[in-house]
């Protein structure tokens, strides 16, 4: 029989190694921590050199403020930091780091050297320590700043070492980390080299679009448009058109007060804003910067600091959703529609330290010319975005309530005539098969119906082919328009408008659905009963701890009422309001629109085409059906000539 192990205090080195397990997972996490330190030190240039995928060596050199000899000795101890002085500071953290754990953790699992010099010293200080042992201190001649050299990571923790991936994989993660910070700090020059070869260089770009170009590539960057939501919590950034998307979220970069985060609230807001513009499981490219009062966001959630907790996640959701939706509503996203007028986006020329949207008091930080305001902070003021009003996504003043009014107004005009869009199957007036090839004038549509001639109105209709596609011609291109997708989008917009106008049709359940609720759910339901009624529910108390659902929104006729109610309640708990309905609504509206739209095989008449085009020009998102499929495919004259081997 084994003797019972006795309880004893662990040695400091073991404690450090255990702590390191939380902070230092792989070479990329070392680089993340050291990059954050460099940026917090106000560096304008950071050089990241890696060898052997980071296993052999990681060296980070910055030109930040550096440290004195005494500070350097303290900095490598656990829980030593310049970023916090008291507990209250923890409530309003504006720096990337604050735990004072990183250097001690890294030191304990590597051969570690720190060299640093601040402006007051003539010589720098070098501290060398292997595996957390007491450091050897020496003087060194160096420029102002800090250099950290981490060799043989995990040499003393074989268990951790064997979980590291191949060199290329580790390098990929490192590159991703560097890329994130390059995007978040466009005015900091960051370079990354591996085994002496430069892999990436992010020069000091005062224009964020330049940095987008480097990170997302020219095609994506050129098509991105700016977003802005100037009312706190403030949001700015760039998003891609729905035509450019990925099958994962790796193109989504979200920053909260300059910190890269993977926040489900922000991601969901982006996804929901795109809604039906993207096919299922497709995600846009986006770089989104959210500014929240530091006191209203808790960054002390996870050692890696990838997660934050908002005091009011609902307001963050709405801010991001509103910003993205507004930008999407303003852009036709038609192929080539943005040519030559790509949105220059926010003016970032005034950003001194390159940090975007760090939460603080933004009032009067600086004007659009870069004049520093009373606070004099080196931070981006989202209010500067007002200077780009009219250039792209943000053409409207952003008074509260404007957004809904604006969308509603636009759609009201667009959809007033929609009910008249009558299709009468069976009459074949298509002349596409006539072979004369001549484009023809579409029947006149009343001026008030047509409004300004948009993309569709400018096309010359040639005819219908394959009983589904409308062939059109413009100056230098041929366009194929999917009649089903086009009508589906119109129908979808009508249905959605009903919802936004709060004219929710209700559907009585044949038999009430009795739902047994917990006390918490019951309290929440009673508290939000009027909200549920607005959403189209009739719910009444039926007995002790039981409520009966008697009516549901007619649009949700196919949804299981009890499951929907529970989802809404859970959602209300999580976000302070219901978003599930939006999720369901998009899918249901898409399905309903699909079923009630003209199908392939319908011989469309010229009058119908004219009205269809007029209506398409009046609505937002007229380039995609609600499932995200394109409505129009364009073949340029150049492409056609190329296919015929003509120059």
């Amino acid at each position: 029989m084994c003797a019972r192990p006795t309880i004893r205090r662990l040695p400091e080195t073991v404690i450090d190694q255990i702590a390191a397990g939380e902070v230092v997972e792989r070479p990329a996490s070392v680089i993340k921590e050291l990059l954050e330190n460099a940026l917090d030190a106000g560096a304008t240039r950071v050089q990241v050199d890696v060898e052997g995928g980071g296993r052999q060596r990681i060296r980070i050199l910055d030109n930040g403020t550096g440290m004195s000899a005494d500070e350097a000795r303290l900095a490598i101890e656990r829980h030593a930091t310049s970023k916090l002085t008291c507990f209250d500071d923890l409530q309003r953290i504006a720096t990337l780091g604050f735990r004072g754990e990183a250097l001690a953790s890294i030191r304990s699992v590597s051969r570690f050297t720190l060299s640093t010099r601040d402006a007051a010293a003539t010589l720098g200080t070098r501290l060398a320590s292997d595996g957390g042992a007491a450091p050897l201190v020496s003087e060194v001649a160096m420029n102002r700043g800090t250099e950290i050299d981490v060799r043989d990571l995990f040499y003393n923790v074989p268990a951790r070492l064997k979980f590291l991936k191949k060199e290329k994989t580790e390098l990929g993660w490192i590159a991703e980390i560097v890329q994130r910070y390059a995007l978040g700090y466009p005015t900091v020059h960051i370079t990354l080299s591996h085994n002496g070869r430069e892999l990436a260089s992010y020069p000091c770009d005062i224009d964020l679009r330049q940095r987008l170009h480097t990170i997302f590539g020219p095609k994506v960057a050129a098509s991105m448009v700016a977003i802005e939501q100037p009312i706190p919590p403030r949001v700015l950034g760039f998003i891609s058109p729905p035509t450019l998307s990925k099958n994962n979220t790796s193109g989504l970069y979200s920053f909260v007060n300059g910190r890269f985060v993977r926040d489900p609230t922000i991601q969901k807001a982006i996804q929901n804003a795109y809604g039906s513009l993207l096919e299922t499981r497709r995600y846009p490219y986006a770089a989104i910067f959210v500014s929240v009062e530091p006191a209203l966001v808790d960054v002390n959630v996870h050692p890696m600091k990838h997660e934050v907790r908002f005091a009011d996640s609902g307001s963050v959701y709405h801010a991001v959703h509103r910003a993205v939706t507004a930008a999407l509503a303003e852009s036709a996203w038609l192929s080539g529609a943005n040519d030559g007028r790509s949105d220059p986006g926010p003016d970032f020329t005034s950003v001194a330290d390159g940090r975007l949207g760090v939460g603080a008091d933004f009032a009067g930080l600086r004007d659009a010319r870069g004049h520093t305001g009373p606070l004099g902070a080196n931070r981006m003021a989202p209010s500067e975005l007002g200077t780009v009003a009219g250039r792209g996504a943000s053409r409207y003043s952003a008074r509260p309530g404007d957004y809904a009014e604006r969308l509603r107004g636009r759609r009201d005009v667009a959809l007033r005539e929609l009910a008249e869009l009558q299709y009468r199957p069976g009459r074949d007036t298509s002349r596409a098969a006539s072979g004369d090839g001549a484009s023809r004038q579409l029947p006149l549509v009343r001026g008030d119906e047509l409004g300004a001639r948009g993309f569709y109105g400018s096309l010359r209709y040639v005819g219908q082919v394959l009983d589904c596609y409308l062939v059109c011609e413009s100056g230098d291109a041929v366009h194929l328009i999917d009649q089903h997708a086009a009508h589906e989008r119109l129908t979808y917009e009508r249905l959605r408008r009903q919802f936004l106008a709060r004219e929710v049709a209700r559907q009585r359940l044949l038999f009430p659905v009795n739902v047994a609720l917990t006390q918490r759910e019951e309290g929440l339901l009673e508290e939000n009963l009027s909200t549920f009624e607005r959403l189209g529910f009739e719910i009444a108390r039926f007995g002790p701890e039981t409520h009966a659902i008697k009516e549901i929104p007619a649009l949700l006729g196919g949804v299981e009422p009890e499951a929907l109610l529970r989802d809404l309640l859970y959602d209300a708990i999580a976000f302070g309001h219901s978003r599930i309905l939006d999720d369901h609504l998009d899918a249901l509206l898409s399905k309903m629109a699909c079923h009630s739209s003209i199908r392939a095989g319908h011989k469309i008449r010229d009058e119908e085409v004219a009205r269809l085009f007029a209506e398409l020009d009046r609505i937002d998102f007229s380039a995609n059906c609600p499932h995200g499929r394109p409505i129009v495919v364009t073949l340029s004259a150049g492409e056609i000539l190329h296919r015929f081997n003509r120059s």
């Binding site: 559907q507 009585r508 359940l509 044949l510 038999f511 009430p512 008697k550 009516e551 549901i552 007619a554």
Partner: protein, 225 residues
């Protein structure tokens, strides 16, 4: 029923009573008016109707006028199957066999009976014990528009034959939504009537019934499962 409620004073009160019984079981309702429900409806065909009349305060009983006399509202139960569809046709009123009857649609008994109807869905799945069957969400309904036109077209077709003294020629399959069927305990029952020449004849008593095709339209238009 022992505890028949007094008639409702207005539609709002009637609707409150309807809302209060929605979701309850037959056993619960029966207990509230002091009766014990039978095991099944065999031999107790009118039990559900009587029970609902007692709970809601219908006053007409078997008189030939709307169940809620003061409000001009007829009460109709709608047995519903597992798929959410009405299980059986709905009796409207008896057929007047007098061929000399020249009544028009607005004065007809069918119109008067169907002008305002309170439909009460009831779980009609026969496998379910009667006591545990649930009462659904009631619907106060008005016969109008497209649905009225459908019923009226059938009624006029039937009346045409009755006026021509051809009531025996009306088959149960005639009429898309409103049918005429014998309504008697057995085929030996006879009703004295008058043919178009004023000659007394004897014929089978008949009634107007709404087909399930019609009540299904009502259910689908106003309810979801």
């Amino acid at each position: 029923m022992r505890d028949h409620r007094p008639p409702p004073t207005d539609e709002a009160e009637l609707l409150r009573r309807v809302a209060a019984i929605a979701g309850r079981t037959v056993a619960e309702l029966a207990a509230s008016v002091g009766v014990v429900p039978p095991e099944n409806l065999s031999g107790h065909k009118g039990f559900l109707g009587d029970l609902l009349e007692a709970c809601l305060g219908a006053s007409a009983g078997s008189r030939d006028e709307p169940d809620f006399t003061e409000l001009g509202i007829e009460l109709k139960t709608l047995p519903i199957d597992a798929r959410g569809r009405p299980r059986e046709s709905t009796y409207v009123c008896r057929v007047v066999h007098d061929a000399r009857d020249q009544q028009q649609w607005p004065q007809s008994r069918v119109w008067r009976k169907l002008a305002r109807v309170l439909w009460i869905p009831v779980d009609g799945e026969p496998r379910l014990p009667l006591a545990s069957r649930r009462i659904g969400c009631g619907l106060l309904w008005r016969l109008e528009g497209e649905l009225e036109a459908l019923v009226r077209a059938d009624w006029e077709q039937h009346q045409e034959l009755i006026r021509h003294g051809q009531i025996d020629a009306i088959r149960a399959r005639d009429g898309r939504y409103l049918q005429v069927r014998p309504k008697a305990a057995n085929s030996a029952a006879r009703l004295e009537s008058v043919d178009r020449h004023g000659v007394r004849i004897e014929t089978l008593p008949r009634g107007y019934y709404l087909r399930t095709a019609f009540t299904r339209l009502v259910v689908e238009r106003y309810h979801t499962l």
